[in-house]
């Protein structure tokens, strides 16, 4: 029902709605794909901005050479390969070292690219091909649907069960025959595909990109924050968290950027201390308290 509505939206909604929804989709995709890996395993990754940035630059470099769907696919594949490489190198490390590393990865990519651009191309930024708003919207919707499906299937499969067992105890799951390192690396890479693909299509909305725009830590921080806020126990948690924050950001960031970011920090603290399972935890608690209402609502 909702999908049909969203799929036909360009027929009756205003351009503003389309653009707003595209931004919301972007955050939902980043957040849900972050949760695919970090949710069950408990490894906190600050790498989304790196994969997102790789996608953006794929679009900036190949945008004029290849047809759009191929550019998006390439963005996903390059991110996948990068994540496979990074994961294989660092996922053997203890959780906190992995987190430190991913934080550095974004800055590393940014500075390496900046150095390359200034030294070899002589300019800091690049122009990206223009794509009309409706096309961007539909591609984002398609990526989102694909992602939700992937995430759902992973949660329901033996694969997802193995991932959760890694989160509970890595040693125990290794003894039970789970190939811990392989599983972590593959999942990390799968989550990167969606981030890369999203970067590739979102780049076309900005027309001009430079390494500072593409590899902004903001895109690493927001998914973490949105999933903690939404709760990672259920699939709708990150969707809800990302949706709410994306709308808030749209409304507040241009007028009160500092108050908005300040509030984000405050909410994060409150959620960590009082709602360890995020909105999902709150909703589940409320459902348990009102069992009749749970049946009453369809």
């Amino acid at each position: 029902m909702l999908l049909v509505y969203l799929a036909t939206l360009s027929l009756y909604a205003s351009t503003y709605t389309i653009i707003l929804l595209t931004s919301i989709f972007m955050y939902i995709i980043l957040t849900v794909s972050w949760v695919i890996f970090s949710g069950p395993t408990g490894y906190i990754s600050f790498a989304p901005a790196a994969f997102f940035g790789v996608g953006i630059y794929t679009s900036a470099v190949l945008g004029t050479e290849l047809p759009l769907p191929l550019v998006i696919l390439t963005g996903g594949v390059i991110s996948f390969i990068l994540a496979l490489f990074v994961g294989a190198l660092t996922l053997r490390l203890k959780g906190v070292y992995f987190t430190m590393f991913t934080l550095g990865l974004v800055e590393l990519s940014k500075h390496l690219l900046l150095w390359y651009e200034i030294k070899y191309t002589g300019t800091r930024g690049r122009f990206v091909i223009l794509v009309d708003n409706n096309t961007i919207y539909y591609i984002m919707l398609a990526i989102l649907v694909l992602l939700l499906l992937t995430s759902y299937l992973i949660r329901r499969s033996r694969f997802g069960l193995a991932l959760r067992s890694i989160g509970e105890s890595e040693e125990a799951s290794a003894h039970l025959g789970v190939n811990v390192n392989l599983l972590k690396t593959i999942t990390f890479a799968i989550s990167a595909i969606f981030m890369g693909a999203t970067g590739a299509i979102m780049a076309t909305r900005w027309t001009y990109v430079d390494p500072y725009i593409a590899f902004k830590l903001h895109y690493s921080f927001m998914p973490v924050l949105m999933s903690v806020f939404g709760g990672m126990g259920q699939l709708y948690g990150p969707v809800l968290g990302a949706g709410i924050f994306a709308i808030l950001e749209e409304l507040l960031i241009t007028k009160f950027p500092y108050y908005y970011m300040f509030t984000i920090g405050l909410i994060l603290l409150i959620v960590i201390v009082y709602l360890p399972n995020g909105l999902v935890g709150l909703i589940q608690k409320w459902q348990r308290r009102n069992p009749e209402e749970q049946h009453a609502t369809p």
Partner: protein, 289 residues
């Protein structure tokens, strides 16, 4: 030739002293209190901007700001630990859960502190000049301010090392770093020691911010790169080791100045490459066990 080498080495040592001080604070917070404090750089920023404000409004020596930065940062860190992290510690089931939830909480703190600073000082880049005259060392020239700040950073390190090695409180901190549960059983007031470590770490960041503002311009969003450098130095030197922080800091400073000499844009890239190699080859760091 020799002058060039000396030039690079001294520049590296000057940079390294600051890196070491920043890392020592983080090492204390992570090594003892087990909080990987992502907001560490924000305390540096607060120190820098406060110093700028004090020198601008009162027109006095920036070192006077030490009397404000260090105690205020200490109290801030102490209170944050006693309220936020102590509570997180009590609701976390395992040390691993505490490590990740406290890191996320420090991440929230980063947003809060950074945006309070943006509301207070705005996004402008601030700078003032202090001791900005050159000094001759072995045929090369260096700013007097950089010599003074490095000397000060090293002095703090020595002072703190003696504090840890010679005092009862220092002994309690070392015990808590090794095994906080057992230290608690031995009669160490563990919450107070952990909060003290967190506060001292914040104070060191505040002092580092003051020193940085004497040499470089400061602004409200300067914190993150320093946090990352601190993390790299801590990983390089080994957690919870003061000599390690200084060895790591000077090593990174030297690498930075060597790379800057050959290819200015690549200094940060070199830091990360070192970081990656280190994590893969010896995750416990140079002085780590």
């Amino acid at each position: 030739m020799i002058t060039t080498i000396l030039d690079i080495v001294i520049a590296g040592l000057l940079l390294g002293g600051l890196y070491a001080l920043i890392a020592m604070g983080l090492s204390l917070q992570y090594g003892v209190a087990r909080v990987l404090n992502i907001s560490h750089g924000e305390f540096i920023m607060l120190g820098g901007l406060t110093t700028w404000s004090i020198t601008q409004t009162l027109d006095i020596n920036p070192f006077v700001s030490l009397a404000v930065c260090a105690p205020v940062a200490f109290v801030l860190g102490y209170v944050i630990h006693q309220t936020l992290f102590k509570r997180l510690h009590s609701i976390s089931d395992s040390p691993a859960i505490f490590e990740s939830s406290s890191m996320l909480a420090s991440f929230g703190l980063m947003f809060i502190i950074q945006n309070i600073a943006l509301l207070t000082w705005g996004p402008e880049i601030r700078g003032y000049s202090y001791l900005a005259f050159p000094v001759h060392i072995a045929g090369t020239l260096f700013g007097a301010n950089r010599l003074v700040t490095t000397g000060f950073a090293i002095a703090i390190g020595v002072f703190f090392y003696l504090f840890l090695a010679r005092t009862r409180m220092g002994k309690a901190i070392r015990a808590a770093a090794q095994d906080s549960t057992t230290a608690g059983l031995m009669g160490v007031n563990i919450n107070r020691v952990l909060a003290l470590c967190f506060g001292l770490g914040a104070a060191m960041a505040g002092i580092a911010g003051m020193l940085i503002s004497m040499c470089y311009p400061v602004h409200a969003v300067m914190g993150m790169p320093y946090t990352i450098i601190a993390i790299i130095v801590v990983a390089l030197g080994g957690l919870g080791s003061i000599p390690g922080s200084y060895i790591g800091g000077f090593t990174l400073g030297l690498i930075g100045s060597i790379v800057t000499y050959f290819e200015p844009g690549l200094a940060l890239v070199a830091y990360y490459l070192i970081f990656i190699l280190l994590l893969l080859l010896k995750p416990t760091g140079i002085m780590g066990k």
